[in-house]
Symmetry: C2
Subunit: 353 residues, 2 copies
């Protein structure tokens, strides 16, 4: 697989982003939805801000107070045996590795924009900042699907009530209309298809299942992009392979002559994240035509291997120009990188299996 990573990768790093909050540091500018708007490429970056801690024994967790609407901090002592701090992204109750009670940073969506697709300038303000009770721990991992003149942005809302997939709609990337929580929790990684198929909209999504089932990709349909049903299991993890731990949709599905091309992320149980490809039937995207055995992209470069949460390439969006896909992808839960791939190469790899 021929992947041309940009020479000046990573394109956006935390040091390019000024924190919105006093006493906070930006530790991540990553996992960006992508839009072509007017003459610019927009990266709808997930920016993660962490409260600065002067005391190594204290871990601070930010949250938005429901009543005041203000950003507050709760402090945890590292020697408190009631908690597990082994995952730097969250605070877990001791002995319950699947549960988390606080996150260690607040994420929101902020735009970086570029005329050449390579050199980006970061907006001074957030585009999508937590605005309701389902988001008091932040909003994460936007994907952007253009349908006619509107852009639908699907993203994850995090709160103690659960982890929801939510959708907003914008036509100017300044204001937006809230379409609510589209999926019941716990769910992540909604990807909206860019057009109706046989009269219905479609979306990929990735439920997180408690008692039965794996971190697999499901598909659902909708009459209006707000209400979803006819949920079907689409694609499973694969034991012993690079995507044995969890998978989830990555880029907005790309329409090709061969079918809908979906570039998805897959991880091992040890959280090494790669990208793979799957081809879905053009007329019925609930049908899988083929899937790459190997990843099409792995964390091979140092900026992909080292960071806040290393060994991660995590594509959320791209720009298509003829046969060329310019993919923007989060690296190591820290920065954003770019690369170009040929769609024909991916389709060839899918034919090879």
């Amino acid at each position: 697989m021929n992947i041309n990573r940009f020479e000046n990768n990573p394109l956006v790093t935390p040091s390019d982003v000024k924190p919105l909050h006093d006493g906070y540091e930006v530790i991540g500018a990553f996992n960006a939805g992508v839009a072509k708007y007017l003459d610019e490429t927009l990266l709808l970056m997930r920016v993660a801000e962490r409260p600065i801690s002067e005391d190594d024994n204290i871990i601070k967790a930010p949250y938005i107070d429901k009543n005041s609407g203000k950003l507050e901090i709760i402090e945890f002592r590292k020697d408190d045996p009631r908690y597990d701090y082994s995952d730097p992204r969250m605070i877990k109750p001791a002995g319950q590795p699947d549960r988390s009670i606080y996150l260690t940073s607040l994420s929101y969506i902020r735009i970086a924009r570029s005329k050449d697709g390579i050199n980006f300038t970061v907006d001074e303000e957030a585009f999508l900042y937590p605005f309701n009770d389902y988001q008091i721990f932040g909003v994460e991992d936007a994907r952007c699907t253009q349908i006619d003149d509107n852009y639908y942005i699907s993203y994850t809302s995090v709160s103690p009530m659960g982890i929801c997939d939510s959708i907003i709609k914008t036509s100017d990337f300044k204001t937006f209309e809230d379409l609510g929580n589209a999926f019941a929790p716990e769910n992540k990684d909604i990807l909206l298809f860019p057009e109706k198929i046989n009269g219905s909209y479609y979306a990929l999504h990735r439920p997180s299942l408690k008692s039965m089932g794996n971190y697999d990709i499901w598909i659902a349909s909708s009459p209006d992009l707000e209400c979803w049903g006819h949920h079907e299991h689409l694609l499973g993890i694969r034991e012993g392979m690079w995507d044995s731990g969890r998978i989830g949709g990555g880029l907005v599905p790309i329409k090709t002559e061969k079918g809908w091309l979906e570039l998805y992320h897959g991880a091992t149980p040890e959280n090494r994240y790669c990208m793979g490809a799957v081809l879905l039937d053009l007329d019925d995207p609930t049908k899988v035509i083929s899937r790459t055995k190997d990843p099409i992209m792995e964390p091979d470069f140092s900026y992909e291997q080292n960071g806040f949460f290393g060994d991660v390439v995590f594509g959320c969006g791209g720009i298509i120009s003829g046969d060329v896909l310019t993919m923007y992808y989060g690296v190591a839960d820290t920065s954003i990188a770019g690369c170009t791939l040929k769609i024909s190469d991916i389709l060839l790899k899918l034919e090879e299996g």
Copy 2:
């Protein structure tokens, strides 16, 4: 709270139900959706059949083979340290108390019918038997909502892919139309409201959340009863109280002058199941008006306390006649009992808090 339990409770027991499968025994006829159809009261019972095991060291788990469509059995040895058999309903992987890999019985929906609402005759055949890959471990806990001349039956589909909420539609209780999996997994306890409210259908549902959130009741809306969105958190568990472990919708919401009356089930972490009441705004059922502090019904009688899974009263449906609600409820995951309550009494209890 004045509850008149029927004198001949339980009304239907496993011994009243002939197993559909050779080599199986009926261990439960419980948790029934309820419909008034023509001149009969129909109980859409969950019937659980368990493979008979001659060897005390062997636990048998039934499943429907995807390829052949036939009911098969997999055997587990009780001394196999890879599994945890502490919950008689399921087989868990050792050390993962939240997970299950097989169920020890196959559930399906079978009708018991009565002209007087007290003496029931059980149909010879299943009404709703697992019919797709999402149901190879069974279908459970039907609720039935009449909307005009159609009856919508919401139920749980169980398979290794996950636990889904599904809906079928019938007008004759013989044939039905499949409306698919209405909610992303993992979810249980869908309750459809019996009419549109301000132009939308509404449903209660109960996601099972992996990393954040509790076993709480959520509410969603729909244009067509098939696709659902605008998910909102409605009602939470209450620490230290009778509904501190999990809650879920019980009966189809009842329209009263004061609001939508929902009788829900709540359990302690030790799985003692009671029934409580909550009142929702008539014009906007996402708004909670009041909730009973104490249960309105507890497992007080021996047939409610003893059985396959004891200390359970679990109402799924009822018949309204003026101020009288005849509630049918599952007891001890074994049998079905009946009782009458006055709606005015419940509303009074809701006013008291």
